[in-house]
């Protein structure tokens, strides 16, 4: 999603943190200095610099608490994957053409997606360091050292699209949608009612949740009271622990609820799987200790339901019974519930429906790798939200704004796939279909998917 993240103090311009996506050429110090310089110059003149689009990049600036400036550099949407050979054209003209062609898609995708990313990154910093240390720091070196602990989570934002290619991980959309990724399983209700609540209570907390491979399976009622960003960040944090970590106990600051006072995030791995497995988390006070929880409660609360927990470790985020109801042309979908800040994503496993249309699959499945689908789903989301669908966080503004036109569906047909997005009450559904799907059928299909998903109150 982004290539570089720079964090600079607003007053002195001291770089606190610079992270780059692996494979991208690192940014030189003068360049960082210039980016900071123009922003500061603008703010001294009473103008706040928001964003800039260049032929290759988009850059956004955002100031937090008047002390930290985040600069996010992302690739331009129109950027060609490879430099195309320029033939027989004068230099100025080829540059001119490049300028023209770079203006196309980029200008229609709003900057807000990158601002969201910047917000996520800032909140991640707050979560790990606390607002006081971040904003009112005393020693820059101390802060820099403290920020090192956040490299891992920031890198995960930068690598979100490459992570899939590496280890076939299920991608998370939390940073894009500012909602928490959830997994749906029939066991969830039972586990929450019978075990999770009791477990949290025993640990002296109202906040507890079960996470499967980075997705939230179930959580206590209080946990759901956290806002979408916090939920998404906590899940991301938990999913970042390597599978070998079986228990951890770290202080976290909740960016919106308690940015200054830390809580303990206690995480225990119940079932180990290559992608993270099933983990139970509680947010609690100083008592009880990790050892105490681990030894006293884990076995007693979770031992009896190991089989149920095993059953939750499905490769897909929705139960097979539901998946079988989905249309066969569906490649992937992303369902966002903007009211309760949850999102559910699903990728049709390659070759999953080979019995029905084996021939088609043989031709096309190889094209639709999950990472490609993920890229397309993200691209579609960015094209739709902010253009025809409102941003959930801005919705209060737009409702006052007297715009009587509200987008309720949006589709795009591209060279290799088709996408359809639908809004219904609090749901936003983004679906990807194969190229063979008739355009006119997409609305019906998408409505059917939404109906299937909302029928059992899955979210």
């Amino acid at each position: 999603m982004a290539e570089h993240v720079i964090c600079i103090t607003a007053n002195a311009g001291l770089p606190l943190l610079t992270r780059s996506k692996p494979g991208c050429p690192p940014m030189t110090f003068p360049f960082i200095g210039s980016l900071y310089g123009v922003h500061m110059f603008g703010s001294n003149q009473g103008a706040s610099l928001q964003s800039t689009v260049t032929v290759h990049h988009r850059v956004v600036w955002k100031t937090y608490h008047e002390s930290i400036v985040l600069i996010v550099v992302a690739p331009n949407e129109d950027r060609k994957s490879k430099n195309q050979p320029v033939t027989n054209r004068r230099e100025s003209d080829s540059a001119l053409e490049l300028q023209q062609s770079s203006r196309n898609l980029t200008s229609t995708v709003p900057d807000d997606h990158l601002f969201r990313l910047a917000d996520n990154i800032f909140n991640a910093l707050v979560m790990l360091i606390g607002i006081d240390d971040l904003v009112k720091f005393r020693s820059i070196d101390h802060l820099k050292k403290a920020l090192k602990s956040s490299y891992h989570i920031i890198d995960s934002f930068l690598e979100s699209d490459t992570v899939m290619k590496k280890n076939e991980n299920c991608p998370l959309f939390g940073d894009l949608t500012q909602c928490v990724d959830v997994a749906v399983n029939t066991e969830a209700k039972f586990l929450e009612k019978e075990h999770l609540q009791e477990f949290a209570k025993a640990a002296g907390s109202k906040y507890g949740c079960l996470v499967v491979d980075g997705r939230l399976l179930c959580a206590t009622e209080s946990w759901w009271l956290l806002d979408g960003q916090e939920l998404a960040l906590l899940s991301r944090l938990i999913s970042l622990f390597p599978p070998s970590v079986t228990a951890s106990d770290i202080p976290v600051f909740l960016p919106n609820v308690s940015p200054a006072i830390p809580h303990r995030l206690v995480m225990l791995t119940l079932i180990v799987r290559p992608r993270g497995g099933v983990r139970v988390c509680v947010l609690c006070g100083p008592e009880p200790s990790l050892m105490e929880i681990k030894e006293r409660f884990v076995q007693s609360f979770w031992g009896p339901v190991t089989n149920n927990l095993q059953r939750c470790c499905t490769p897909t985020s929705i139960p097979d019974a539901t998946a079988s109801l989905l249309p066969s042309d569906l490649l992937a979908f992303l369902l966002v519930d903007i009211e309760i800040n949850r999102c559910l994503s699903y990728f049709t496993p390659p070759g999953g429906k080979e019995i029905v249309n084996r021939r088609k699959q043989q031709k096309s499945t190889s094209d639709y790798e999950p990472s490609w689908l993920y890229d397309k789903l993200v691209e579609f989301y960015k094209c739709v939200v902010g253009t025809s669908f409102p941003f959930p966080e801005n919705e209060d503004d737009t409702s006052h704004d007297s715009t009587p036109h509200a987008g309720i569906a949006h589709y795009r047909c591209l060279r290799r796939h088709k996408c359809f997005a639908l809004v219904k009450s609090q749901y936003q559904l983004f679906a990807l279909y194969s190229k063979e799907t008739p355009t006119y059928a997409m609305q019906g299909l998408t409505e059917r998917i939404l109906k299937v998903l909302s029928k059992d109150d899955l979210l």
Binding site: V38, Q50, T54, H56, S101, N104, A441, R448
Partner: protein, 868 residues
């Protein structure tokens, strides 16, 4: 005596040749007479001349500002002078159709002997005639000094052989005077008798720059000239001044009243290459609009912020080898977009507030501005020279206004500017009208072949006509230019406010003449096989009369003039163009167009308000596909509609037949009063018919009436040509009612048909929209315009490796603002869909329709192909 008969023979020959020219010649000839003798005052050399007869064109006296002539008659002052003159034109050529011309012609022939004398004064500079390469010609001073060539060398030895003008050298003094014609005989210079014998000797004696009074014997048959022959010596400049001409200049008052953009805006041209030690504060600012330096007040916020633009541009270029495209800022709580264009070390920036411009719009505007400046001045660097400042202010003032979509501004702007798609809006004309206007343009373009029409003047023309196009009220009527050149012309006219920005009709003449640097010539084609045009200089001749504007692209071949010099408009071309416009006027073409603009055109739109009011019943009866798990058979509906498609095809071919040759020639040549009367007589009748048709097909496509229309046509085809025409004028004037959308009811709210190959787009006319006008419909159309631009922007992303978008659609739910408070207020759902087709021809198509019946875009676009 023998000499005299030789003269007569020669004159006869010329006249004979002239007689063989057709109708065009006659018309132009007549026109020339009314125009009076024209003189192309050329500031090129220091040779100048004054004519002693005839009044000049009023614009001749105007200065050429930075290579551009922008001239406009002030309608109020000029109306009493100009209008009658126009009327004369209108009537006169119509009197003179082919027959009368032929009858009239022989008469002067018999009177060839009645020669007449005329006096032309030319200014010559003898020194120039000897200089440079022309030194070799010094034995032929007649050619080098006066630009006259006498071919007849056989008579060299003869005494008293007269000096006959056999050839005129292009650019020579004689040709530019416009008074000396082929076949004339030089009698005397400065009242000294000259012959072939003594002419060289005489010219040798002229060593200082001086005015020569040349007396010529002419065998012209123009009665007018004879009247004028007596030596009148009224300087033409006086008559020009009397016309109260007024150069178009920026009217600061007028546009300020019109509106200025809300919020901060500005245009800057900044340089990155500045020596810091010697530079003063404002040295990096090569140009700015609005001016900051003038008033010595606090410079505008944006101009203070220009450091950001410069730095960003520099940093991105130096360190990322990338170029900056746009920046978004918040100034005083207002979102401001700035778009850049970088040329080497200079940056061109346009800053506009978000309320007036969306981000894609700013990008489009900056591309357009860069192209426009390149067309006008060759490059951005030469555009932003200090001497152009005034002109640039004017351009940017218009440009920022016409491209904005701020509500306050668009209300005051003509409706034609409301689509921000970078293409030309075309008016779909009935085939016969289209044929007429195309014929008129073709005729104009052909006029550079027969240049000798005016008197007997067989010289090469300076220019060749590359093409022309005609606009009416902001609509493109016809175009004979390649699409890149068309877009060049359009950009210029659009952004100079020539296209219908004024409310009242232009009664005087608008003349715009300037050198252009065609955009397509900037790009050298990669393929070597493609034909490359020889280099040359291009000029625009833009003539406006009443509500129409005719643009002609002229090419000056070779390197006749040094590049620093811009020749003045050639009065021949101006007159041809004017004649073309007036010819169209004389056959009531504009009335037809006006009538076309005030009738509803297919495909018909349906008012959105209808759906809003009949909401409840509508949804019960015709439920859109929803959670039923299946879509109500789209495919079946299409099948039911297929006869409709067929019908549109037949009506199309019938249209083509209707533009029968006889009618076409009648109205294109349309000079006879009978013909024009007939045309006039038809006008009300057909308008009544059209009105009737509208009523009968108001909103429902009743299949019965369509069927009847079809059978009549079928009958017509079996009969002869005449009958077909009769049948068609009675019945066939009605287009078949065609409904673009599928389903029982028409559900089309708005459409836009973009043809990138021809560079034009077609939308409903203002009348179409006003017919379905309502608050809700307006709101929907506004939203359509906005999103069509976004969709267009996304479609135009051409990435051969990656994905590209073929079709994109958005479904909106619209609630009328009146009912917004109430909970269960009526609403309607409409689609805005765009589709790009790459085969068989490249085309983009945008529609806005109600969500009642499912549509397939392929079929809609296919149908629209038959429509247009």
């Amino acid at each position: 005596m023998a000499d005299a008969s030789a003269q007569q023979n020669r004159a006869f020959l010329y006249t004979q040749m002239q007689r063989n020219r057709g109708l065009k010649a006659a018309r132009q000839f007549a026109l020339e007479e009314y125009e009076g003798s024209d003189n192309s005052d050329d500031s090129y050399s220091d040779s100048e001349y004054t004519t002693s007869s005839g009044d000049s064109n009023p614009w001749e006296g105007e200065d050429l500002n930075a290579g551009e002539l922008l001239y406009e008659d002030e309608p109020e002052v000029d109306s009493d002078k100009e209008v009658p003159k126009l009327n004369e034109h209108r009537e006169d050529p119509s009197d003179e159709n082919v027959k009368t011309y032929k009858n009239a012609r022989p008469k002067p022939l018999t009177a060839t002997g009645t020669s007449s004398l005329k006096v032309v004064e030319v200014r010559v500079n003898a020194a120039l005639s000897y200089s440079g390469r022309q030194i070799s010609l010094s034995h032929n001073l007649l050619a080098s000094m006066l630009g006259i060539v006498m071919v007849d060398t056989s008579g060299k030895g003869k005494k008293n052989e007269k000096v006959v003008v056999d050839l005129l050298i292009p650019g020579g003094v004689a040709l530019r005077s416009g008074q000396i014609n082929l076949g004339d005989v030089l009698i005397a210079i400065n009242d000294v008798c000259v012959t072939a014998r003594n002419i060289e000797k005489f010219l040798k004696s002229i060593i200082r720059p001086m005015v020569l009074k040349i007396t010529l014997q002419t065998f012209s048959d123009k009665p007018m000239l004879q009247n004028k022959l007596p030596f009148q010596s009224k300087p033409p400049s006086v008559t020009a001044r009397e016309c109260e001409v007024k150069v178009l200049n920026p009217h600061p008052g007028r546009l300020k009243q019109l509106y200025s953009l809300p919020g901060p805006h500005g245009v800057f041209f900044l340089t990155l290459n500045l020596r810091s030690e010697t530079a003063s504060e404002d040295d990096d600012l090569l140009y700015s609009y609005p001016h900051s330096g003038l008033l010595h007040e606090t410079p505008s916020k944006l101009s203070q912020l220009r450091g950001i633009f410069v730095t960003l541009a520099d940093v991105m270029k130096q360190m990322q080898s990338s170029e900056v495209l746009s920046t978004t800022l918040i100034i005083n709580g207002q979102l401001v977009h700035c778009a850049y264009h970088q040329v080497k070390t200079e940056v061109f920036v346009i800053c506009v507030p978000d309320v007036a411009y969306s981000l894609p719009q700013v990008h489009k505007t900056v591309s357009a501005a860069v192209r426009l400046l390149n067309i006008m001045y060759g490059s951005l660097l030469s555009a932003f020279q200090p001497e152009n400042k005034h002109r640039l202010d004017q351009i940017f003032q218009h440009l920022l206004l016409v491209n904005s979509s701020a509500v306050e501004v668009t209300k005051k702007l003509p409706a034609s500017t409301s689509y921000k798609i970078p293409s030309v809006r075309k008016l779909k004309l009935p085939t016969d009208l289209q044929g007429n206007v195309d014929a008129a343009l073709a005729e104009l373009e052909a006029s550079d072949f027969d240049d000798g029409t005016k008197a007997v003047n067989f010289t090469r023309r300076l220019y060749t006509v590359r093409g022309s196009c005609i606009f009416y009220d902001g609509y493109l009527l016809a175009n004979h230019l390649p699409e890149e050149d068309l877009y060049d012309v359009f950009l210029y006219c659009y952004n100079s406010g020539l296209l219908g920005i004024r409310e009242k009709e232009r009664s005087g003449l608008l003349l715009n003449w300037r050198e252009v640097f065609c955009w397509k010539n900037r790009f050298e084609s990669a393929e070597k096989n493609i034909y490359k045009e020889p280099s040359g200089r291009y000029f625009w001749l833009i003539i406006g009369l009443k509500r129409s504007i005719l643009c002609v692209l002229l090419k000056l071949n070779g390197n006749l003039f040094p590049s620093s010099h811009t020749p003045r408009p050639d009065s021949n071309y101006v007159n041809y163009a004017k004649a073309a416009l007036m010819n169209l006027d004389s056959c009531n073409f504009y009335d037809y167009v006006q009538q076309r603009l005030s009738t509803i055109s297919t495909p018909y739109l349906v008012p959105a308000g209808d759906y809003l009011s009949k909401q409840s019943s509508f949804f019960k009866s015709n439920k859109p596909p929803s959670g039923q798990g299946s879509t109500p058979g789209k495919g079946f509906k299409l099948n039911f509609n297929s006869p409709l498609k067929l019908k549109s095809a037949t009506s199309d071919s019938d249209d083509g037949r209707r533009a029968s040759p006889s009618r076409l020639s009648q109205s294109s040549a349309g000079k006879s009063p009978v013909a024009s009367n007939a045309v006039e007589a038809q006008t009300p009748k057909s308008s009544v018919k059209r009105l009737f048709r509208e009523k009968s097909f108001s909103s429902q496509g009743s299949s019965e009436s369509m069927g009847s229309g079809k059978t009549t046509k079928r009958k017509g085809t079996n009969l002869g040509m005449e009958n077909v025409q009769n049948a068609l004028t009675t019945v066939g004037d009605e287009h078949c009612y065609t409904q673009l959308t599928a389903g029982n009811e028409n559900s089309l709210f708005c459409y836009l048909d973009l043809d990138p190959l021809r560079g034009v787009f077609i939308t409903p006319t203002e009348f179409d929209l006003s017919a379905v006008d309502s608050e809700s419909h307006q709101a929907i159309v506004t939203s359509f315009k906005k999103y069509a631009l976004i969709l267009h922007q996304r479609m135009s992303r051409k990435n051969p490796n990656g994905d590209y978008c073929i079709e994109e659609g958005i479904l909106f739910k619209f609630q009328s603002s009146k009912h917004q408070q109430k909970k269960n207020s009526p609403y309607l759902q409409y689609w805005i869909v765009g589709r790009a087709m790459r085969s068989p021809v490249e085309k983009e198509f945008y529609v806005c329709f109600h969500n009642s019946a499912p549509q397939t875009m392929v079929e809609l676009a296919f149908k629209s192909g038959f429509e247009f």
